[in-house]
């Protein structure tokens, strides 16, 4: 099944260029028929209140390893030609990108599914923690974002056992 996927995982403070990353995966190749890109962006509000910024803390070393493990799993589960994941850390303002996933495959189904799988796992298994910064006049409050049960449920559905068709 594996198409010898080219995979890249990067953690960085700096912004990234999704279009450039997508182009890198498919450039010069005629076996890729589908590229899916997902970008997670910092919203300007949290629970109806405006926010000044998000700060993302991560566990260096483990974050890369955990994402790489899931990229490897994705390439086992779907026939992917390439995967790129870039996750930012540090202070990020509303409207700025936080994370991107690009998946490339011969056909769209694998690319869509793998991108969704990777995002669902990034949300619940990659060691990142978001802190919201709100400004009210000169007072700045910082609060840690609570994990969402809906994110756990989204990741859990990928764990349903894949039954192998066996012929007796």
């Amino acid at each position: 099944m594996a198409m010898n996927a080219k995979s890249t995982v990067l953690l960085q403070r700096e912004p990234f260029d999704v279009a450039a990353e997508a182009a890198k995966l498919s450039r010069g190749r005629a076996d890729i028929g589908a590229v899916v890109t997902f970008t997670g962006i910092c919203r300007g509000d949290e629970a109806g209140e405006p926010i000044a910024a998000l700060t993302l803390e991560h566990y260096p070393g483990m974050a890369e390893a955990e994402i790489e493990r899931h990229v490897a799993e994705a390439t086992q589960r779907w026939p992917l030609a390439g995967v790129t994941v870039i996750h930012r850390y540090g202070r990020i303002k509303p409207g700025e990108d936080i994370v991107m996933v690009v998946t490339a495959s011969a056909h769209r189904q694998a690319a869509f599914a793998a991108a969704e799988f990777l995002m669902d796992y990034l949300k619940t298994r990659a060691p990142f923690w978001k802190q919201v910064e709100k400004a009210s006049g000169k007072t700045i409050t910082k609060t840690w974002v609570d994990a969402k049960a809906s994110d756990d449920a989204a990741a859990e559905r990928w764990r349903a056992p894949r039954r192998k068709q066996t012929v007796e």
Binding site: H58, H87, K123, F128, W129, A147
Partner: protein, 85 residues
């Protein structure tokens, strides 16, 4: 046995430090027992580990369950539920 402990997000804030080296007592065999022991080290630890069920743990950069043995670990990390992506 000296083990490096690392703390992240609000666990780090409550403990008051990002990491430390500790001598894990001989009677502490699992991650769950280690959290119970840590909670007894002072007010800040009691606060950080007041609800161990919500705290995630990684041994040498791999997620583990509370029953995981701590003997062979060189680095153990404690953190709240993850909120990346």
């Amino acid at each position: 046995m000296t083990t490096k402990l690392r703390y992240f997000a609000w666990v780090r804030e409550r403990v008051g430090k990002p990491e430390e080296d500790v001598e894990v007592p001989a009677g502490v065999a699992t991650v769950g027992e280690l959290m119970t022991w840590l909670a007894g080290r002072g007010e800040e630890y009691a606060h950080a580990f007041e609800n161990p069920k919500v705290i995630g743990v990684a041994i040498d950069r791999t997620h583990v369950q509370p029953g995981a043995p701590v003997r062979a670990a060189s680095e153990i990390a404690f953190f709240p539920p993850m909120t990346g992506g």
